[in-house]
């Protein structure tokens, strides 16, 4: 009795995403599906959920083969999916989102909103989810939004629930709450698939761990039989350095100083609410925190992309609070942006054009308004070589590069200057392990050469691995500051606004 995927293969043009994958999930069992970005986990689950059709292979539920032509069929078969990027309509209420697609109606299609609310309240209380049916989703914190997704799944009486990277948006404390919910579902007899790249969590919650690599299942283990290092090795296929080797920092003068900064988001909320800190030359300061606590806007404000309404940002002795992005860039600040595809690169431009994106207006790339493309191409060729960017040539569109190589283009462009400050936001999000190692090593290298580095990341391991000092951001403020001896637990508490001596 249960869910079985047998021999699933899925081909996209030029890519074999799944190659003969087998997976079983029994009732009341939690299976963790581990693998690095691009291993094929999400593709597999999208097949299970009816969003893709397999090129070959079968999906069996309770021993019977099922074919899904769309999510509707999968839902009808009792499969529910909680997506990594929530499938919630931001402007709808919780109740509207939950009933979407399965609406209770009166005559003429008139919505029965009372029944909708009642259903939400019932499910919410049964599983301890505590959600207000009339709240508008975009006003809710991310952790609560995820609960709405879960209620959606439960409303349709799912027997099998798939969670796709569920903890990537949660604080460590919210993760605990999430695990309790999952255990409640398990106790109710649901079969659960938990997709992740976070080894520790998989080991904590799963009954069984299945590891995927390059579209295949390469191992299946019990959490009790294995440790994180071995797991990582299985995921990547070779021994992996989980630690970043770095020497003791030798911090110099203060390069970046932020004082009492207040920034509004697009809806005029104070998303950065009085932040102050410093970054010295030759040190790496990491800002930890779950997405949505103001880090994005903080970085945008420091780099000139978003105006602040109060406070000051200084670069060495100069007040750069109201300076434009270009002015800040010219003052030898490198910015590796969070939104690689939307901001960091222009996808329809070639690699060469992207390489000169920050320097096209200066000699030698241009003289006056005339551009010197020979110079540009020469620089691009040099940087592609130097930063190990895998591309057939520098004249291809940068959109054809893999995520990791795209990030290398950005890093090459930004670091290949005489810089004194690096601001890197989510520098290794969504890229392969090899590129992650590369980017980390370049960052440490820069720091050793006396550059001040500010890193913002929602991956706590990355912050802990790289930073000489750790700041934690929570609800627009810096909740805590630690040196590099801090543990993940201490950080985790701070990410919830609590210190060891109780809530602050």
């Amino acid at each position: 009795m249960g869910l079985e995927l047998r021999g699933i293969t899925k081909r996209f043009p030029g890519v074999l995403a799944n190659d003969g994958v087998d997976l079983t999930v029994a009732k009341g069992e939690i299976v963790a599906l581990l693998g690095e970005n691009g291993a094929g986990k999400t593709t597999l689950m999208n097949i299970l959920y009816g969003l893709y059709t397999p090129s070959s292979g079968q999906v069996l539920i309770d021993g019977e083969e099922r074919r899904f032509s769309g999510p509707g069929d999968a839902i009808a078969a009792g499969i529910g999916m909680v997506h990594q990027h929530f499938m919630l309509v931001p402007v709808f209420t919780v109740a509207e989102n939950v009933i979407l697609g399965d609406e209770p109606t009166k005559r003429f299609g008139w919505l029965d909103k009372r029944r909708a609310r009642k259903t939400v309240r019932e499910i919410s209380s049964h599983y301890g989810l505590d959600v207000d049916p009339d709240a508008v989703v975009e006003d809710l914190p991310v952790g609560i939004q995820q609960r709405v997704e879960i209620i959606k799944v439960l409303e349709r009486e799912a027997r099998f629930v798939i969670f796709d990277e569920p903890t990537s948006v949660l604080t460590p404390s919210e993760v605990e709450g999430f695990f309790r919910i999952v255990e409640g579902l398990k106790a109710d007899g649901k079969g659960i698939v938990f997709i992740s790249h976070k080894l520790g969590e998989a080991m904590e919650i799963a009954d069984r761990i299945v590891i995927m690599r390059r579209g295949r299942t390469v191992a299946e283990v019990m959490p009790s039989e294995i440790d994180e290092e071995r797991l990582a090795e299985l995921m990547v296929g070779r021994p992996v350095e989980l630690e970043v080797h770095r020497e003791e920092a030798k911090p110099g003068a203060v390069v970046l100083s932020v004082a009492d900064l207040v920034v509004l988001d697009d809806r005029n909320q104070r998303v950065v609410d009085g932040v102050s800190f410093e970054v010295r030359a030759g040190e790496i300061v990491g800002i930890a925190g779950v997405q949505g606590n103001g880090q994005t806007e903080l970085v945008e404000s420091i780099t000139g992309l978003r105006p602040s309404v109060h406070g000051m940002v200084r670069l060495l002795d100069e007040d750069i609070t109201t300076r434009s992005p270009r002015a800040i860039h010219r003052r030898r600040v490198a910015h590796v942006p969070e939104d690689r595809l939307g901001s960091g690169l222009i996808l329809a431009f070639t690699v060469t054009e992207n390489i000169v994106l920050g320097s096209y207006y200066e000699s030698p790339i241009s003289r006056g308004i005339q551009m010197d493309w020979d110079e540009a191409r020469a620089r691009a060729a040099r940087l592609v070589e130097q930063y190990d960017v895998r591309t057939p040539s520098a004249e291809v569109l940068v959109s054809t590069l893999s995520g990791g190589n795209q990030q290398k283009v950005i890093v090459a462009r930004e670091f290949d200057r005489d810089i004194r400050l690096i601001v890197a936001a989510q520098p290794t999000r969504g890229i392969d392990v090899g590129s992650i190692e590369y980017v980390h090593s370049r960052i440490v290298e820069a720091r050793d050469q006396g550059v001040a580095v500010l890193i913002v990341s929602s991956e706590l391991e990355e912050i802990l691995a790289l930073s000489d000092r750790v700041l934690v951001m929570f609800r627009g403020r810096l909740a805590a500051e630690f040196d590099d001896s801090v543990t993940a637990t201490e950080c985790g508490l701070a990410m919830l606004g609590e210190t060891a001596s109780g809530p602050s």
Binding site: L51, P71, V89, A259, F277, V309, H310
Partner: protein, 425 residues
């Protein structure tokens, strides 16, 4: 664990938020308007001049209702109120009411303007309001078309072309087979163009604005071509009948309001009803919820099993039916004769009305009335004989559109997926 460190030597500055800056601009504008009212509308008329607003139309039960007012005094009064509003907005103490103050200020300015134009003469205010309602109909219908499409994230620039083609088809079929046949044919024509837009945008993933502009060019060219080749040869095909005015009993006899709201032809009543139906439909029915979800977050809709493509096709074609209805209004009620480029940009004004009305049916109605008023000014003031040259009066609706679009964008949010084709894996 250490406490949060603060940098020494902090110089704290506060800079204005966009809301505050906007309030400053609007407050200043209101003060300037007050100045114009005093200078031009107040001092610019003779001291004893009276503006007489007629409030009854010939043929009504109660006759000779009018309101005469001293032109100068009214101007001064308006100026005082507008100046007060301007000053109050400038204080930036209640930013939420800035827009309302602006709306009131503009409304009063319009009143002062009319008073000035009518100084020493009499002017049919009822006639003006009635024209406002009538002239607002095609704009509102255009806005409703636009919003039906945009609520499912399809930008419809082709409204102009839909109106024009429907007007053309309406006149031919209306002349040949009667006004009801003409109406139906016009609506079908609008729906067909809507289907073309849908196919281009959804199936072939043409850029939606390009597809819209193309359809407009095509419609203009085809209707002009056919008008010259076919209609010129057969003028009988260009004289359809008209839908007659129907006065609603009792309600239609109320002084002033009766003539303005309850004595119109079918098109006007249908527009009001349509606004209500769409409002209820979009926000209280399953169809509305699903449609809106497709426009806001098509992927979410897809993952719960809603057919995104079908919803988009359906709603775009329904929008086309509405546009067809609007096009029929031109030849089957108002002008009753097709001419080249009859619609003169009303489709685009409808788009502006849609944005102004925040993509809501009731908003579309309100915005349509505002534009209807601008068009009514263009017509009525020509008759009054003001010192303003007729060409400038003709510009009024278009300039008003520009101001509205410039002032309102960024304040109202379109459906989140607007303009993006949906690509299923």
């Amino acid at each position: 664990m250490t406490a949060v460190s603060t940098a020494s030597d902090v110089k704290i500055t506060a800079r204005a938020t966009p809301e505050q800056r906007r309030a400053t601009v609007i407050g200043t504008v209101l003060l300037l308007l007050a100045g114009v009212v005093v200078w031009v509308f107040g001092l610019g008329v003779e001291s004893g001049a009276r503006s007489t607003f007629n409030l009854s139309l010939p043929g009504e039960r109660i006759q000779d209702l009018s309101w005469a007012v001293n032109s100068r005094w009214l101007a001064y009064l308006v100026a005082a109120v507008v100046a007060f509003l301007g000053g109050w907005v400038l204080r930036r103490s209640h930013l939420r009411w800035t827009n309302l103050a602006l709306a009131i200020g503009l409304g009063l300015f319009a009143l002062a303007f009319l008073t000035w134009a009518a100084a020493g003469k009499s002017f049919s205010l009822v006639g003006m309001l009635r024209s406002t309602v009538i002239l607002s109909v095609p704009v509102t219908l255009g806005a409703l078309t636009g919003l039906m499409c945009e609520r499912v994230a399809v930008i419809n620039i082709a409204i102009e072309g839909q109106l024009l083609t429907a007007a053309f088809v309406g006149t031919i079929m209306g002349s040949a087979f009667g006004i009801w046949a003409g109406l139906v044919a016009a609506m079908v024509a609008g729906a067909i163009l809507g289907a073309v837009l849908a196919v281009l945008a959804i199936r072939f993933q043409v850029d939606q604005i390009i597809a819209g502009v193309v359809i407009n060019i095509f419609a203009l060219g085809l209707t002009s071509f056919l008008a010259r080749r076919v209609l010129a040869a057969a003028p009988d095909l260009n004289s359809p009948g008209r839908f007659a005015s129907i006065k609603i009993p009792i309600l239609g006899d109320i002084p002033v309001i009766g003539s303005v709201l309850f004595d119109h032809n079918m098109f006007v009543y249908a527009t009001f009803v349509l606004v209500l139906v769409l409002h209820l439909g979009l926000f209280y029915t399953r169809w509305g919820l699903r449609s809106r979800s497709v426009g806001e977050h098509p992927k979410a809709a897809d993952t719960v099993g809603i057919d995104v493509y079908r919803t988009r096709y359906l709603n775009t074609i329904l929008g086309g039916l509405i546009a067809g209805f609007g096009g029929a209004f031109f030849t089957l009620s108002q002008v009753s004769r097709f001419e080249e480029n009859l619609t003169a940009g009303i489709g685009f004004i409808g788009l502006a009305a849609m944005i102004f009305g925040r993509w809501m049916p009731l908003g579309a109605l309100g915005a349509g009335l505002v534009f209807g008023f601008a068009r009514a000014i263009q017509q009525k003031l020509g008759i009054l004989g003001t010192p303003i040259p007729s060409e400038f009066l003709s510009m009024t609706p278009y300039i008003v559109t520009i101001i509205v679009v410039a002032g309102v964008v960024g304040i109202s949010r379109p459906p989140a997926a607007d303009g993006q084709p949906y690509i299923k894996q």
